[in-house]
């Protein structure tokens, strides 16, 4: 996809598209699957490919949303830190999956931390470019957004399933939340002392 010599560290810059095998990128980013070959350059010109090492944040809670992302390789965890300091995992993102789209579409700051837990490549669809092309009613960008909406439906299904699971088996869930509640009160007591 991207010769190692052209790969750059997260935060140090980007891998420009002229150095990327666009064919391989298209295969690795399902959001591009339905875009016509002629339209790919329009969609990709506002995007950036980043090499992100393990342990780096792609974004943090409260960050301005710079766009939405497709994970080309590696693993990303979306999580929040709960009151007891424990990480609550919302979703584990694997290669080919997208993330950050809910915040992008809502026009809101990020509500989760996105952290790379295995070295990988992330393609970012830049917010400004996508918004500009949407305002121009670009059919190619619209195709990407339509594909993105399918992943939103899938994410929602997953969230509802998790919520339902917690309450469908209250005895089992109670043990987990008793531990969590104990942890939170302990931290609060420590803070007060």
């Amino acid at each position: 996809l991207c010769p190692e010599a052209n790969a750059v560290a997260w935060g140090d810059g980007i891998v420009t598209l002229d150095k990327i095998d666009v064919g391989k990128l298209t295969e690795a980013v399902p959001l591009l699957a339905e875009v016509d070959e002629d339209g790919l350059s329009e969609v990709l010109e506002g995007g950036k490919l980043f090499k992100v090492p393990r342990g780096s944040h792609v974004y943090r809670v409260g960050d301005t949303c710079a766009g939405f992302y497709s994970l080309v390789s590696g693993i990303v965890h979306l999580h929040q830190i709960e009151a007891g300091g424990r990480m609550v995992l919302l979703r584990k993102i694997r290669a080919g999956q997208s993330f950050g789209a809910t915040d992008f579409l809502c026009g809101a700051p990020h509500r989760m931390d996105a952290i790379m837990v295995a070295d990988g490549l992330v393609f970012r669809f830049d917010a400004a470019s996508i918004r500009e092309k949407l305002s121009e009613r670009s059919p190619n960008v619209m195709t990407v957004i339509r594909t993105l909406s399918r992943s939103l439906e899938s994410n929602l299904q997953n969230v509802e399933e998790r919520v339902a699971h917690i309450f469908s088996n209250p005895d089992a869930s109670l043990a987990e939340f008793k531990d969590l509640a104990g942890l939170v009160s302990t931290v609060e007591e420590l803070d007060e002392s």
Partner: protein, 167 residues
């Protein structure tokens, strides 16, 4: 043309960026439903129930547990989509969606909506972006609710304890 639907849509700030002719197209596909409080808007077994846009009132998501029990989850207030996972669903969902107050819902047939998506015509693109944005807002509500269960574990524990006693 569906004047009632157009009137509701025209009054939504979130749809204000849509040109009138595009709004008219959207309105022409809508059926307006007045839903009294307590009515089930979407049943968890509904598949392909269409796109439902709540334009007045509030809807609560409920999960059936045990024998005749219900767990109340998140509330969505107008304007919002309702149960958008049912749009493309091929299996049962997890929640029923019940009107918490008297509601007005605009419904768009699933096939009509999918046809508009496939056509990807200039006239429908701003409207589709609005619909996808509403979907994203709905997903954010559900995700925040899930995270909230962990962010306030004491409250969740209490709810689970009550549920354990009830069942």
């Amino acid at each position: 043309m569906n004047p009632d639907a157009l009137s509701y849509l025209s009054n939504l700030d979130r749809f204000s960026a849509i040109e009138e002719r595009e709004l008219s197209l959207l309105a022409s596909m809508c059926t307006v439903r007045d839903v009294p409080a307590g009515t089930t808007v979407v049943n968890r077994a509904d598949k392909g129930s269409g796109l439902l846009l709540l334009v007045a009132g509030r809807v609560i998501s409920l999960q059936k547990v045990g024998v005749g029990g219900n767990v109340r989850h998140y509330v969505v207030s107008a304007p919002s989509l309702v149960g958008p996972t049912r749009l493309g669903a091929t299996t049962d969902g997890f929640f029923d969606f019940v009107a918490q107050s008297d509601c007005v819902i605009l419904s768009i047939d699933r096939e009509d909506f999918r046809a508009i998506e496939r056509a990807n015509a200039p006239i429908s693109r701003a409207m589709l972006v609005c619909v996808y944005t509403e979907m994203a807002r709905y997903v954010a509500t559900a995700e925040d609710y899930l995270m909230g269960l962990y962010q306030s574990p004491g409250q969740t524990k209490k709810r689970l304890e009550e549920l354990t006693l009830a069942t």
